[in-house]
Symmetry: D2
Subunit: 361 residues, 4 copies
């Protein structure tokens, strides 16, 4: 249970950046769900590096589904999605020089020197491609149940996007873009900023904000499997994510209870909260309001500036210049991974409540 997650929808992820193939087994989807491979390809396209704000490694991300889908529909047994690796430049990597900010050194200790160090091995962001392919199926299923997910780039250093306002429209707006911001100018400024950082051999971090609309109330568990627990478990799977906050998040530390509480009121015959400081979750359980959370993605650790490191063979201090093809920012590509993992986590919780039959209804 190391590279495996999920109780009802179980994902088994495998692959190394420079191995022959990467992939995922998705176990637990009920039979009878139409699989939209075009949508899967569109989602993968959003994860692809594009333009000057991304790495020049161009993988086609062509995927094959080798099981679990029959005549275009899930047949109820595990779905295996696989992608070949083709565009590796393994010569760029030197195992004895751990790259600062990367998993290299931690992996070297954990795997006693047997790790596949090429391109970060299993730790490579490339492994998020099968997650996105699997997530596309989950997103599609949720959509058929009236649940939609959108993520925008809330902040990149000093540049901030506007908040979600009209949720349905804004989610659609997120999903229509490659570099997803709600405010067009903010997006353009961010992209220029990333490009400039790249030109300076550097990289930048940012904050993503996600909204899930249409979640029914009553999903999640108290204590050990709170919705926050389960969502954060999934989301922290993404290499560069170092923080997550729900609703007001860290802003709660500045509030009084009288400001933080979300008062209930009737609206169109159903109970809503006037404010949504709790981000749609009370006591670990959805309350029917939009789920809102933010995650921070650290600056890509691969930069072309010279850095200090240690030579693992001689155990002496040394200086490293990273080669290869790298992204000056990854949060805009991580966006669709957040959506994917969110969808997979919610689907797992929804099946717990409604049973696997419900999905295929």
């Amino acid at each position: 249970m190391k590279s495996v997650i999920g109780k009802n929808i179980t994902l088994s992820l495998y692959g190394e950046s420079h191995g022959s193939a990467i992939g995922v087994v998705v176990d637990g989807l009920p039979a009878g769900i139409k699989v939209d491979t075009d949508f899967m390809a569109q989602q993968l396209d959003k994860r692809k590096p594009k333009g000057k704000i991304s790495t020049q490694r161009q993988e086609k991300d062509e995927f094959a589904i080798t099981s679990g889908v029959f005549n275009g529909y899930t047949c109820g047994t595990p779905i295996h999605i696989t992608m070949e690796n083709k565009a590796q430049h393994s010569g760029d990597y030197q195992p004895q020089f751990p790259r600062p900010g990367h998993a290299d050194y931690a992996a070297h200790v954990k795997y006693s020197g047997f790790e596949d160090y090429r391109g970060g091995g299993h730790f490579s962001g490339r492994l998020t491609a099968p997650i996105v392919a699997a997530g596309a199926i989950a997103i599609d299923i949720l959509r058929s149940k009236g649940i939609t997910i959108g993520t925008h780039i809330k902040k990149c250093q000093h540049i901030e996007d506007r908040n979600f306002e009209n949720f349905a429209e804004d989610i659609a707006l997120c999903n229509s873009q490659y570099f997803a911001t709600l405010d067009k100018t903010a997006g353009e400024n961010m992209q220029q900023h990333i490009e400039a950082a790249g030109a300076d051999c550097d990289s930048v971090g940012g904050i993503l904000e996600t909204c899930v609309l249409g979640m029914p109330a009553g999903v999640g568990e108290p204590y050990f499997n709170s919705m926050e627990s389960v969502l954060s478990h999934y989301i922290f799977s993404i290499g560069g994510v170092k923080g997550i906050e729900f609703g007001k998040g860290f802003g709660f530390a500045n509030l009084f209870g009288s400001q933080a509480n979300d008062a209930f009121e009737m609206q169109d015959g159903r109970i809503i909260t006037k404010t949504n400081n709790n981000g749609g979750i009370n006591g670990g359980i959805s309350n029917g309001m939009p789920l809102i959370f933010r995650v921070v993605v650290k600056p890509t650790p691969s930069i072309f500036k010279e850095q200090n490191t240690v030579n693992l063979e001689t155990m002496e201090n040394t200086v490293l210049s990273i080669k290869g093809r790298h992204d000056p920012a990854i949060f805009h590509r991580a966006r669709v991974v957040v959506d994917s993992l969110t969808a997979l986590a919610l689907l797992d919780l929804l099946i717990q409540r409604y049973g696997e039959r419900w999905l295929a209804e």
Copy 2:
């Protein structure tokens, strides 16, 4: 697997605030570990409400261990820790008026009206008492392996504590106090601020910062069971926690990669990082540096100011005045729960790596 967590050390939590007893079954501790019931009592004492900054409900938190310990040592089979509830005032609760910020409404939907609404039922913070008792055993075991944990109150509204400096000393300082701050004046100011909020029928939130010293490098997994994934899963079990960040956390959004990366260097014959922006974790795996993370605890939702809510019987808007005994802040009491869950999470990961025999060595 709803109120159950852990793969190697499994916790099963039960109880309601106003039921007859609460408790936890701790499954997976190997035989031969001395159980220090005095330390368990000390840890529980740190969770207790004290002074004017806490609720006036005074539970003695006397616990009984009814299995799994024989002649003072673990005997290798599940440990059951139970506590009777004695000081309930059930009459204070009215099920038809969901309290804003509480789980009442979400629970009402989830449990179709069958929930035990008295005192928040299973959602009550009272359930953290057995977690603290179990956590004390885990903290003790980690300490015997040279791993120590300390949490201080970093921030309460505008009042900030200083950062960790000398880790070993500061951890000891945290653990010697009931209201744990590194700076004495900051702590006094915070307590006055909480007391004032309480006097105003209100409550406040805050940020806790945790340091774990002595974690060996190489623990944790890439992707789905990253150290951040596992720790956040445990920590979000605490009712009021709405955010977690590791190392620089959300601050990473303001940094360039060249500022964020932690350069490696040799120190006294071992590899360290010059900075620790990543909080001791790279690629989901410990790198041997101190683990650093922060969690935000929202203001206690139980306040005595009048609030808007909905009458669940008539489905009409109404106004609610909460009665009972409540805390104007809970983060200072949540501190020891964070320590406990951290210890339990790390123990689970360490057993994965070293085997259960290692613990008893």
Copy 3:
């Protein structure tokens, strides 16, 4: 996950034979199910030692439900069932002399001498009492869904009971008896045989046969979580069980495929099989026919005849005379434990398929 089982309905078992209390936490039952404590007591009564065919240790098996039930209905949070131990005679046990056929020696190695050896500690059959209490709730739920379970004593040495004939009637017949046989004379002969073995300071084994009527087709999974896999996992939890077979079981080794296959045919508008050699399971999945399986329970290892063993302190051969109060047979008491574990296993599989809401419908 050692003394924990179940994905949707999770059981956490704790206790030692001579500790202060034993119990179980049942996590995952949805809210709104009426809990019939009288039926729980009746089921426990079937597990109790009675007459000359059982041990003279008489525990009252009075149970307390300390959480998860509110106003007579499940409230959706974990149910804790506990029983005090009162009738221990701990002086009867000597840890240095492992009893042949018991877990003593294996436990001594596993727990490095820290095991609670008194009365078999956690290995004691006494731990099946909380399983029966939890199982009673599961049996009750299944009954409300039209699924009934019955187990009779098929064989005790040379004495055989008749086969199931009219399933519904025979299941009712099983459940109406303490010593459950379908043929009255067979039952009387078996009891005399057990009594004679007991008088001779010896014990006997036997075979139980279980029938589950009303299981819908389509439950279970191919491969790793076949219905046989899951049921056997649960049933082998019972200390003395050393074999399980489904349908024709080991008899399949004598058959040709043309004899073994169950032909399909229409009956009253639904598909049935003419024979039921496969015991209601094809490819790991229920086919709508009655589930049929048999388990063998070995003779109680506690006998009063002198036996050879080793003194664990001196590591020398020695001779042991077991004292205390013991059963000359346990299969008649194990019967209700089989029913209980079967119900809990099936409930888990049914929730997977139909969702937790279904149970409370």
Copy 4:
């Protein structure tokens, strides 16, 4: 968690008989283990159909390892083993006529008609090929720790093989043969018998007996994760297995306790049991004696004789003649699958006790 098994070594199985590929992800093997692909091929060879006693479908079973192995050693991340399907004759299958004894009808209900019916889909015995490939790695690891596994064909209808006598030699003898019997004549008679049944358009069942030598005492858990529970869970994954018994198994029903108990005695400075009726397991935990268990494999359900079934489209009784290429017996091929699953189950339990580092020591 449907097509997933294992806590420390997790297998995710995927594929359908006539899909493009089948495979397994093996998660949890520590880094630094040499992977012997020749041995994997040898083990797969033992699973292949050969001669007149097997199906004429000849798959090459060429496998590719696309991740988790680097420079010939495990690198600590998930191992993906995949095999292409090439020799399918999908035209042989008609979905509307469920084959007696097969999963067809149960699958049809479970998957609401969306199942991949071709060649049994995911239920096909073909899926055991990746299990054997994964199992070969586990067998290899156990061997390096002094633990060996052998399975022979104990019984095919009236023909019986001799019992295990000299365990080490007999295990080697099992592993040196394709059709594994301890007595050469018994093996020849069985093969003639199978061939005759095949010529008569029929099939036969049989009993396999497995011995594991070198298991240390103290592995396994009381109650819910007894060694019998865990082993049976794995073994019942095999489609045709309908029973399992440990040690004397169902024979215990004929014994007195004084005959069934295994007396302890000293031998060469260590504790053994004089007899091994309990098959190396007491109270769910290994006692250091050889593990002995038997499983029954039912006659292959695919026979060429005419059989009664129901037309699922018209819901009318009809007659079916199965076409295609089928085995008149499968137990001789299932033998190596039993070995594989046994090794994988034991490895999981051993890691629990000794930690993942132990494997690579």
